[in-house]
């Protein structure tokens, strides 16, 4: 069993078409909606956790793409600016999925992007602007954690 977090973007031409249920019906995938937003007549965005065999996940994603859904892997949209991180740990107490955690014995902060659900809390908590994500839910803004640092 593998798990992948993906961002699905439904452009206006397909945004009212039901497709997600078929991931379960046709591909035996477990899906878990982490966040969703609909901008009426513009687009819809869903943050989805997909669980299943790698083959099924790949096929499911292929199916979505065939139906004109833009699929982006969350791991490519969220990152840490390594030279900004001082490994203080301020983000770790707020991270809901333990994607950010302090490792022993070197006491550095590890970032496991595959566990990240892009809630944006780390971006608020980080004093150094190290945690970044781009355009997940607001197509008008540069990114949820704010404008370009400085």
């Amino acid at each position: 069993m593998k798990s992948d977090n993906v961002l699905l973007i439904f452009k206006s031409n397909i945004m009212y078409k039901p497709v997600i249920y078929r991931l379960a019906r046709d591909f035996d995938l477990i899906f878990n909606i982490l966040e969703a937003k609909i901008l009426p007549r513009r687009e819809g965005r869903i943050l989805l956790e997909l669980r299943g065999d790698q083959g099924q996940i790949d096929q499911g994603i292929k199916f979505l793409e065939e139906h004109e859904v833009v699929v982006e892997r969350l791991a490519d949209k969220v990152w840490r600016e390594e030279d900004r991180c001082v490994h203080c740990g301020a983000c770790t107490g707020l991270c809901p999925t333990h994607a950010l955690s302090i490792t022993s014995p070197n006491m550095r902060v590890a970032f496991d992007v595959t566990k990240c659900v892009a809630c944006g809390m780390c971006g608020l908590a980080c004093p150094f602007g190290a945690m970044r994500d781009i355009t997940l839910f607001d197509p008008f803004a540069e990114g949820r954690t704010g404008q370009q640092y400085q």
Partner: protein, 391 residues
């Protein structure tokens, strides 16, 4: 004056450092050594224990002299990259404090504010060698006729640039929780409602003043690692309070001692002076400080051997109690418990997170250790130790 089995002086240790014979260990290594061989043997074996901390220290800033202009100006208002520096001193001197925000910062008008740039970031930019926009205004006098001045400068263009911090390296501190019904944005970070998380800020067993809890070796003239360069303790910091309650091992059970420090910004590094933006609170700066503790006797060996499990921390409520002017401890926990990632407050499990980087504090301990071992860093003999209480 207690009788010790081991008696060394700072001068003797300095001679060993010069001869390349001094035994230097980090505060983390000292815990194991003191446990293994006992304090007397540890005091015979070890000459210096290096400590370190890298946390947000709001009571910090830099004194800058930007050089006389032609014609002359007695600046009455100075801005560095849009951040105001205090200019109520002589002609071209000013003090930039780390919590000063940019003039056009929206602050908390849209709550919580992000405070992306302030005095701490100006200092970080300076030590990183980046250009700074200096703007000065004046009312003009006979001797200083100029009324405005604008120039781009880098650190090396300033005739004088010192880090000068009135209160750093707090000896122990609070662990913050929030009992209110809404998320709060504090200098102790983001605290979620109903005591969902707890934040603390210390390097604990590595922390300078926690390793010399009665300040027997620290005072004016103590040479230290400051912001990646060399600096000095110039006395007790503001709010220095040695009278705080102590546990049986002599370690304070809350914020107590503090130090004021000074050092030349030239030679410091942006790695150890980092502008910080605390959402909803304001700007500040992370300061890297490392203090070498000379092991003059077995008492100091025992005290530097203290571990996170033996340091008590007060848990303080920041939702209502602290802002109201209170701040009495709800309970005490140890740094060992805090580092485990979870503590118990009022019978419920609470996630904990540090704000001070243990990883960088350890790097500072190691760097200071290598400086001393190489013979390039001698211990400064304090002319007067910090005010203390009877042991």
């Amino acid at each position: 004056m207690a009788d010790f089995q081991v008696n060394k002086t700072i001068a003797e240790i300095n001679q060993k450092i010069k001869d390349g014979e001094a035994v230097v260990v980090t505060a983390e290594e000292m815990i194991g050594i003191a446990r293994e061989v006992g304090p007397v043997e540890a005091a015979r074996k070890v000459d210096v224990v290096t400590t370190g901390t890298f946390g947000i220290m709001c009571s910090s800033g830099a004194f800058l002299n930007f050089g006389h202009t032609k014609p002359r100006i007695r600046a009455s208002k100075v801005f560095l990259n849009g951040v105001e520096a205090y200019a109520g001193v002589a002609a071209v001197d000013c003090y930039i404090g780390v919590t000063q925000t940019r003039e056009d910062d929206p602050l908390n008008k849209v709550f919580p504010g992000r405070f992306r740039y302030g005095g701490g970031h100006v200092i970080e930019d300076l030590v990183a060698g980046r250009e700074i926009q200096v703007t000065a205004k004046s009312y003009g006098t006979d001797c200083y006729p100029r009324r405005s001045y604008e120039v781009t400068m880098t650190l090396k263009d300033f005739p004088n640039a010192w880090l000068l911090n009135p209160r750093n390296a707090y000896q122990n501190y609070n662990c913050a929780v929030n009992f209110s019904k809404k998320t709060i944005y504090t200098y102790m970070g983001i605290l979620r409602p109903d005591c969902m998380n707890a934040n603390y800020s210390t390097s604990g067993q590595l922390s300078p003043l926690l390793n010399d809890p009665y300040y027997q070796t620290i005072g004016i003239g103590t040479r230290i690692f400051l912001g990646g360069g060399v600096g000095y303790v110039i006395g007790a910091g503001t709010q220095h309070n040695p009278g705080v309650r102590r546990s049986e091992n002599g370690v304070v059970m809350g914020g107590a001692g503090t130090i004021a420090v000074r050092g030349d910004l030239n030679g410091m590094s942006a790695k150890y002076l980092r502008g910080a933006s605390m959402t909803g609170y304001g700007t500040s700066m992370n300061v890297g400080i490392g203090i070498p503790i000379p092991i003059l006797n077995e008492e100091l060996a025992r005290r530097t051997g203290v571990s996170d499990d033996e340091i008590q921390v007060p848990v303080v409520e920041y939702g209502l109690d602290y802002p109201d002017g209170g701040g009495s401890p709800i309970t005490y926990v140890t740094y060992g418990q805090l580092r485990s990632g979870e503590i118990e407050v009022d019978g419920r499990k609470v996630t904990t997170a540090p704000l001070s980087s243990y990883a960088v504090a350890l790097e500072i301990c190691e760097t200071l250790k290598s400086w001393i071992k190489s013979g390039s860093f001698l211990l400064g003999e304090p002319q007067e130790t910090l005010p203390s209480v009877p042991r």
